[in-house]
């Protein structure tokens, strides 16, 4: 089932939640909405998450803090899919400043990301 809001699309494929972010700047209120919609889709089940952040413009501190704690609810592991210098920097900033509490890694393509996530299903 494909779910969509103003900031992202969500789909569960083979037990992995695929979250594709749109071309947005992440702030706290958007992050709250993003997490809420994902959790509603998961209905209380723990799952690995693939986050395609290639289109994201930026993220502020409050959003990072929210995503690293509240945002990791019902998550086994996270794989970021990045491509450009911008999205790579975004993921580096998140990984260095927020030390996520669950296994989190970034990849240059979805296949590698899925391979990593499959270990946590």
């Amino acid at each position: 089932m494909l779910v969509e809001n103003d900031y992202a699309t969500y789909e569960i494929i083979d037990g992995v939640v695929h979250v594709i972010y749109k071309n947005i700047d992440l702030d706290i209120s958007r992050s709250v909405r993003i997490v809420k919609d994902r959790l509603q889709l998961q209905a209380g089940r723990f799952m690995p998450i693939l986050c395609d952040i290639r289109a994201i413009q930026g993220i502020d501190k409050a959003a990072r803090a929210y995503l690293s704690l509240e945002g990791s609810a019902f998550v086994n592991a996270v794989a970021f899919v990045v491509d450009s210098p911008v999205s790579e920097m975004l993921s580096d900033i998140y990984l260095t400043t927020n030390s996520p509490t669950i296994p989190t890694k970034s990849f240059l393509n979805s296949e590698e990301a899925i391979k990593f996530l499959n270990r946590f299903r």
Binding site: A43, F74, M89, S99
Partner: protein, 324 residues
């Protein structure tokens, strides 16, 4: 050199100089480009945000006199959205002359994305008599930099015919509580004490109230912070034992943690456990006993009590409210 590169490099330069001069509230305007330069701009913006926060925590929030700088910008807007009054610091912050702000649209001070947000709030408030809200807006400063702020909007009636909108921008919203709790006493006290105490005395006082922490100590305390976060569901060892695990002592851990994070180890642990628990309460139908266990609480009553104390509702009330 291509024009967009030159433009962005010059913004970086302005930003760097601003940061060297000790001001961290500006941000570089982001472009649609997707190159190394843009990734540096992103990094710079995040760095400025980090510095801004660190300075509040280490400096402003702990100093007596600086609390007076809390309100950074005030505006009064008329019914047509024009600026009727602006304070001096706002002009300075936005690097604009007063006459270039007065009698012009408030929206002209905002970035494109924020104009829409502002108009929505402004129109919404027009339908009601008394109105109070807050909204995140991004101001444009003259040097081409951006200033993101939480803006407090209050509508009031000046006379029978018309209303005005008061806009207040607080400098450091993250430490709101800390600032609020100390604000009334501190403003007066701070002013008085300023005169009485010599600089030497004040430095001595500052030293006395703070623990001396080496870089290594700070590293260990940060490690403690991260360890708590990654082990929220485990039994927490006594502080003394935890300090030993980290290779420091109880005194440094206790006071150093407070110094760095503005809260005690125990309070931090409970707060973070509750944040995690809240998500499970809201977005699953797991039994509360199970949630209590998963978030490191020893018993269901202990969990429920702490939860209610923090969020004002018991876990079951909270779940009900969310499901309505």
């Amino acid at each position: 050199m291509e024009e967009h590169i030159e433009q962005r490099l010059s913004s970086l330069r302005v930003m760097l100089l601003k940061m060297l001069a000790g001001s961290y509230y500006q941000r570089i305007k982001r472009s649609k480009h997707n190159d190394i330069l843009e990734s540096f701009i992103l990094g710079f913006n995040v760095l400025a945000e980090e510095f801004q926060d660190v300075l509040v925590h280490q400096g402003y929030a702990n100093r007596d006199a600086a609390i007076l700088d809390v309100v950074q910008m005030s505006f009064i807007i008329d019914e047509h959205g024009m600026v009727e009054m602006v304070n001096k610091i706002a002009c300075k912050t936005l690097s604009r002359r007063k006459r270039n702000i007065i009698d012009r649209p408030f929206a002209a001070l905002l970035t494109e994305g924020s104009v829409q947000k502002w108009e929505k709030v402004f129109q919404q408030s027009a339908n009601r008599r008394a109105y109070d809200t807050s909204v995140d807006l991004v101001f444009k400063s003259k040097g081409g930099l951006e200033i993101p702020k939480t803006v407090y909007v209050s509508r009031y009636y000046k006379n029978a015919q018309g209303y005005r909108t008061l806009i207040t921008v607080i400098h450091h919203t993250n430490y709101q509580k800390k600032i609020q709790s100390g604000i009334s006493g501190r403003i007066n006290k701070g002013k008085l004490n300023e005169k009485k105490r010599s600089v030497k005395d004040r430095i001595a006082l500052l030293k006395k109230s703070k623990v001396r922490l080496s870089l290594e100590d700070i590293q260990k305390i940060k490690m403690a912070h991260d360890m708590i976060l990654t082990n929220l569901n485990d039994d927490f060892p006594p502080l003394k034992e935890f300090a030993l695990q980290l290779g420091t002592n109880e005194f440094k851990l206790k006071y150093g943690f407070k110094e760095l994070y503005g809260t005690t180890v125990h309070k931090f642990l409970i707060e973070e456990r509750l944040r995690k628990a809240l998500m499970m309460v809201l977005y699953s139908d797991r039994p509360f006993k199970n949630i209590a266990e998963m978030t490191g609480f020893k018993s269901l009553p202990h969990f429920s009590r702490s939860f209610k104390k923090t969020y004002g509702h018991s876990p079951s009330e909270m779940r009900k409210i969310n499901n309505v």
